[in-house]
Structures are given as structure tokens and as C-alpha cells.
């Protein structure tokens, strides 16, 4: 049975989607010294895609993202593990963190640590996992019983 989409929900999701993604990126970068981090950021990004799914079913989800969810998962894992390996290659212990600071003219002095790359990995893994979950909810044969028409 197909239903009409809710216009209010649709418009709200369109307005919120990119804002939520930006917020998730803010949380990711702020996470080292402030509330946030890769996990929280990843969850907020997942919420953005979750809203897309709620508003338009799995076809809306697949329209909003073309990269396979497994790629997010894999690249995220690679990021996290390679961050650990880099410190190993530079003669330190596995996962040992280093702090960099760079003078970016407009932004002033930006201090960051190698933990950020690990956090990016976590962000991608959480996002990939949530996307996989949402896609699996659509049904094994690729059809979604809750599919709604635009």
C-alpha cells in the first residue's frame, strides 16, 4: 500500500539534513577537548540519514548517498588502525598520539592531535554501521513495505 508523503516532514528533513551533517562535523573536530568526538559526531550524522529514511523510505536513503555503506565502514576501520600504525612506523608505541600545531593565516594557530584521525575513523565506522542497519531494514529483496510515493 502506498501513501502520500508528509509535506511537513519532508520540508523539515530537507532543512535539517545539511545542518545536522555540519553539526556532526563540528562535534567530530571539537571532540578532542570539548564534548563531542568521533562517536557522537557519527551518531548525529546517522540521525541525518535516519531522518531521510523516515521521511522517504530506503529509496530516499539511497538517493541521498551513493557510496556503499560498507565502504564507510572499511575506510573508517582503515583510518583508525593506520593512525595507530603511523606512530609505530615513526618509532613510537602503537596508538601513541602526537600533537601538531599549524599557523593557518585566517584561522589563527590551529592545534590538533593525531587522535583526530582515529576519531575520523570512528565517525565513519558509526556512520557506515547505521547506514547498513537502515538499508537492511528495507527488506531482504530490496523492496520496502513502508515505501511512500513523493
Amino acid at each position: 500500500m502506498t501513501q502520500r508523503r508528509s509535506v511537513i516532514l519532508d520540508l523539515c528533513v530537507q532543512a535539517e539534513f545539511h545542518t545536522l551533517l555540519l553539526l556532526s562535523l563540528y562535534l567530530l573536530f571539537a571532540g578532542h577537548n570539548q564534548p563531542g568526538g568521533g562517536f557522537a559526531g557519527g551518531l548525529v550524522a546517522s540521525c541525518a540519514f535516519g531522518l531521510r529514511y523516515v521521511a522517504g523510505g530506503s529509496s530516499a536513503l539511497s538517493r541521498s548517498i551513493s557510496i556503499p555503506a560498507t565502504t564507510f565502514l572499511g575506510v573508517g576501520m582503515l583510518f583508525a588502525i593506520l593512525t595507530g600504525c603511523v606512530s609505530l612506523l615513526t618509532g613510537h608505541e602503537f596508538l601513541e598520539s602526537a600533537i601538531f600545531s599549524a599557523d593557518l593565516m585566517v584561522l589563527g594557530t590551529v592545534k590538533t592531535s593525531s587522535v583526530l584521525f582515529f576519531d575520523i575513523g570512528v565517525y565513519l565506522v558509526v556512520l557506515g554501521m547505521s547506514l547498513l542497519l537502515l538499508q537492511q531494514l528495507g527488506g531482504a529483496d530490496g523492496t520496502d513495505p513502508d515505501e511512500v510515493q513523493p
Binding site: 556503499p68 560498507t70 565502504t71 565502514l73 572499511g74 575506510v75 573508517g76 576501520m77 582503515l78 588502525i81 593506520l82 595507530g84 600504525c85 609505530l88 613510537h92 608505541e93 602503537f94 596508538l95 601513541e96 598520539s97
Partner: protein, 497 residues
């Protein structure tokens, strides 16, 4: 040197990441997975050599010093477990690639299998109680996927039992860690070894028994084994084989590690010996009552765990050395038995004793492989099981524990009986099932199985024969492992510096 300790965990995880990116490229996934595991096997052999030469190896994650940071530490016991489990994991992976319908239809098989490998490697190398919990969770999360892979009805049903019992055990584990932390203020095992010794003896006993129950569920010792024969046989054969060989042994490893390092004793422990005896007897009696190869072998997993706990319960160098050697032999033997069973299932479609028969004429190779592994399991000289059991029995006799040794000898005979039962049912005799008999009468006397499946089984049986051949060297190493376990001063000094 620190790289060697990290690689058994990092390489499988790295390969898992690549394998999941190559989601629909099976050949690429296979190359990455096999390549990573070959590298891990090589790495663990180097690690064993390093430990043999220089003693205990340790490294601090992220450079944070012990006891605050997470320690990875490998002593002789860990190194031996790591080598044999990684060899087994590699053989089963090759078997799984060879078996039609295991990794072909399941893009997640390779990534999940590699994550499980990383979890097992971390369990053997971690020197931190909470990190051990993390290692368990990594292994379990992957095993939940593997045990229900394929999604048949009975798999989901028994998978639920498996998941619920393991979630319960994990919850108890966290509670146990909280108690340990509340009592001592640390979770670093070397630090705990120092601090638990200063606690009142009542607290020590409570913590020791609580952790014994937690790991007892994972290791399937009596009376906490009921979940195992129910859940293992329903999975695909390579999965059952690797679970049977490895996962319960990770539980046994943790029991041995915690009972020797955190709660050292110098007299035989009655409660462990009683548990060991009951585990052996109930396991073997359960096996005798079954009429399916997979279920018989699953009950034998439980029964053999009893021998390991028996050797530990003696708390003597000879007893623990026997246990170390016995686990080292059990991991490949048990896995090889399941792989051989898988070959029978692959060629006949069944593992029920009543349905299959006369396999010795149709697949003589499988019959020979099964016979070698089965006799080794039963402890027939000169195979590897004999050496392990002999070590444990001698230790028991010199400790004066005659009753439990008597029990273990009877259980050994019953094990032989139950292996003969499989032999008579499956390899001798004739098939009851009319379709199978038809296949045999149509001149199809040799049933073919994929080359890789046979090759992997041959390799693993070869490993068990090699264990028998080099029993002297390996028993020396086991003795050194036992000395290190019962006198952990080198371990503690290496970690705490």
C-alpha cells in the same frame, strides 16, 4: 620487538577493513585474508622464538606506562597458544574458501572471520583485565555473526541461546571487573597479582570464584556447559570447527591465566578438580548418548576441557605443563575432527550415524584423516593426545590425587569407545539411506570433495602429527610455560618494570 606483539591484532583488523571495502570482490577478499593470516602465523612464530630466547615480552599501548596504560604481554604460554591458534585459524580459512557456499554467498564472512581472529589474538596477548573483556567482546560480536551465517531456522534458534548465554557471561564479567577494581584500584594483571595478594583471604576467594564462573561459562566447564552442544553443531562446518578448536580454549586460557597469576595456590584445588572430573564424565556420557557426528564431537569438546582444568587444578609445574601441552594439541585435533566431519557432510549431505556408512571405501583419505585425529583425541600412543594425557596423569599420581586420575582414565576409554562408534557407524558398514546406497551402487565409489577442503584438513592433521613428532621439544616449552605461570615474578617484573 614491540611490533611483533601488536601485529597479531593489527594485521587481521587491517585485513578486515580491506575485505569489507572489497565487499563484492571475493578473490580480492580471499587474497587479503589468507595473506594477513600467513603473516600473523609467521609473526607468532617469531614471537615464540623471541620469548624462548629473551623471556617475557611486553609493550605499552600508546606509550602510557603500566599500570595505567593497556599492556600487551606475551610469555611462553601466550606465545604457544598464539602460534597454534593462528595456524588453526589459517587452515580453517583455507577450508572455508574451498567449501562451496561458505564465503561465496556471504560477503561478510572474511571481514567477520578476521575480526574474530584479532579478538582471539588479543585475548591471548593482553595483560589487562578490562582489555581482556574487550577482546572477548570483539571475538563474541564476530562469533554471533558467524554462528548465524546463512540464517537457517535452527541456526537462529540456537544462535539466540548462544547470544543470551554469552551476554549474561559478559555482564557477569564486567561486574567481576568492577569488584576487582573496587577491591584493588587497578585492572592491570601484573599490578593485580601484587595487590590481590594483600587482600583478606575471603575477598580473594570471592573474586577468584566469581571470575571462575565467568570464564567457566565461556570454557563450558560443568555445570556451565549446557549451551555448547546445542549451539555449535548448527553453524556451517568451518565455523563450528574454529569455534570448537578455539573459543572454549580462550576461556580455558583465561581461567589458567587468572587462577595462576591473580590467585596463586600451592596445593591442589579441590573445587577445580571436582569441576574437572564432572566436566570430563558428563561430557563423555553426553557424547555416548548422541547419534550424530557433530553432536558427539561437540560433547567431546566439553569432556576434553575437563582434562585441562584437571592439570591446572593440581597447581604443580608438571600438571600445568601437561595442561599447556594438552591445549596445544587439542586446538588442532578438535578442529581437524570437525573438518573431517565436514568432508563427510560435503560428500554425503549428512552426519547422522544412521544415514552415512561405508565411507572407508568411498573416501579412504577422509577415513584416514578422521582415524588419526580420533585416535589422537582418545590418547592412543604415540599420537599427541597420549603425551598430553600422560603428562597430566603422571602429575596427578605424584600429587596423590588417585580418584580423579582414575576418573580421567575411564573417561579416556569412553572417549575411545565413542570414537569407535563414529568409526563403525560412518566409515565401516553400509549406508542406510537408500539414496546414498544408490549413489554407491551406480559405480560412484569415490565421492569427491573440493581440493582445498581436503588440503586444509590434511595440513591440520599433519600439524597434529608434527606435535607428536616434536613432543619432546614442545613438552620442554610447556614446562617452561608452566614454570612462568606458577612463578610469575618475571611476568610482573617485565610489565611493572
Amino acid at each position: 620487538m614491540s611490533v611483533l606483539l601488536v601485529l597479531p591484532i593489527v594485521l587481521p583488523l587491517l585485513a578486515a577493513a580491506l575485505a569489507i571495502i572489497a565487499y563484492n570482490h571475493r578473490t580480492l577478499q580471499r587474497i587479503v585474508a589468507v595473506g594477513a593470516l600467513i603473516a600473523v602465523v609467521a609473526d607468532s612464530v617469531f614471537l615464540l622464538l623471541a620469548v624462548e630466547r629473551d623471556g617475557v615480552q611486553s609493550v605499552q599501548m600508546g606509550g602510557w606506562p603500566a599500570p595505567l596504560g593497556i599492556t600487551l604481554v606475551v610469555d611462553m604460554f601466550s606465545a604457544l597458544m598464539l602460534v597454534i591458534s593462528m595456524v588453526t585459524v589459517l587452515s580453517v580459512l583455507i577450508y572455508a574458501i574451498g567449501q562451496p557456499g561458505v564465503d561465496q554467498d556471504q560477503p561478510v564472512f572474511h571481514p567477520v572471520y578476521l575480526v574474530m581472529t584479532a579478538g582471539v589474538a588479543l585475548s591471548f596477548t593482553t595483560g589487562d583485565l578490562f582489555n581482556l573483556f574487550v577482546a572477548y567482546e570483539i571475538t563474541l560480536a564476530a562469533s554471533y555473526v558467524l554462528i548465524t551465517l546463512g540464517g537457517r531456522r535452527e541456526q537462529i534458534r540456537s544462535g539466540m541461546t548462544y547470544i543470551i548465554i554469552n551476554l549474561l557471561a559478559s555482564t557477569l564479567f564486567v561486574v567481576g571487573i568492577a569488584w576487582v577494581y573496587a577491591a584493588t584500584g587497578t585492572v592491570n594483571m601484573a599490578d593485580l597479582a601484587v595487590k590481590i595478594a594483600q587482600l583478606p583471604s575471603g575477598t580473594q576467594t570471592a573474586l577468584s570464584m566469581f571470575l571462575l564462573v565467568v570464564f567457566g561459562i565461556k570454557a563450558a566447564i560443568f555445570p556451565l556447559f549446557f549451551w555448547l552442544p546445542d549451539s555449535y553443531p548448527t553453524a556451517r562446518m568451518p565455523v563450528t570447527a574454529v569455534f570448537a578448536g578455539l573459543l572454549t580454549k580462550v576461556g580455558v586460557y583465561s581461567i589458567i591465566r587468572t587462577q595462576t597469576l591473580l590467585f596463586p595456590q600451592h596445593r591442589p584445588s579441590t573445587i577445580l578438580l571436582v569441576c574437572a572430573g564432572l566436566t570430563m564424565v558428563i561430557g563423555v556420557l553426553g557424547a555416548i548418548a548422541q547419534n550424530d557426528m557433530k553432536r558427539i564431537l561437540s560433547f567431546h569438546i566439553v569432556s576434553q576441557i575437563g582434562y585441562m582444568i584437571l592439570g591446572l587444578g593440581l597447581f604443580s609445574v608438571a600438571g600445568v605443563a601437561g595442561t599447556v601441552f594438552f591445549i596445544f594439541h587439542q586446538i588442532p585435533v578438535k578442529t581437524a575432527l570437525f573438518l573431517a566431519t565436514g568432508l563427510v557432510e560435503q560428500s554425503t549431505g549428512s552426519t547422522a550415524l544412521s544415514k552415512v556408512g561405508g565411507m572407508i571405501r568411498r573416501t579412504p583419505l577422509v577415513a584416514a584423516l578422521f582415524l588419526l585425529a580420533a585416535l589422537s583425541l582418545a590418547g592412543i600412543p604415540p599420537l599427541s593426545g597420549f603425551v598430553g594425557k600422560l603428562g597430566i596423569i603422571q602429575a596427578g599420581l605424584s600429587a596423590g590425587e588417585y580418584a580423579i586420575i582414575g576418573v580421567s582414565l575411564v573417561v579416556s576409554l569412553l572417549t575411545l569407545f565413542s570414537m569407535i562408534k563414529i568409526w563403525n557407524g560412518v566409515f565401516l558398514g553400509t549406508a542406510e539411506d537408500p539414496t546414498l546406497r544408490l549413489a554407491a551402487s551406480e559405480g560412484e565409489t569415490r565421492l569427491a570433495t573440493p581440493l582445498l577442503m581436503r588440503g586444509a584438513t590434511v595440513a591440520l592433521v599433519g600439524v597434529t602429527l608434527a606435535i607428536a613428532l616434536f613432543a619432546g621439544t614442545l613438552f620442554d616449552l610447556s614446562e617452561r610455560a608452566a614454570q612462568g605461570l606458577l612463578d610469575p615474578s618475571a611476568y610482573i617484573e617485565k610489565v611493572l618494570g
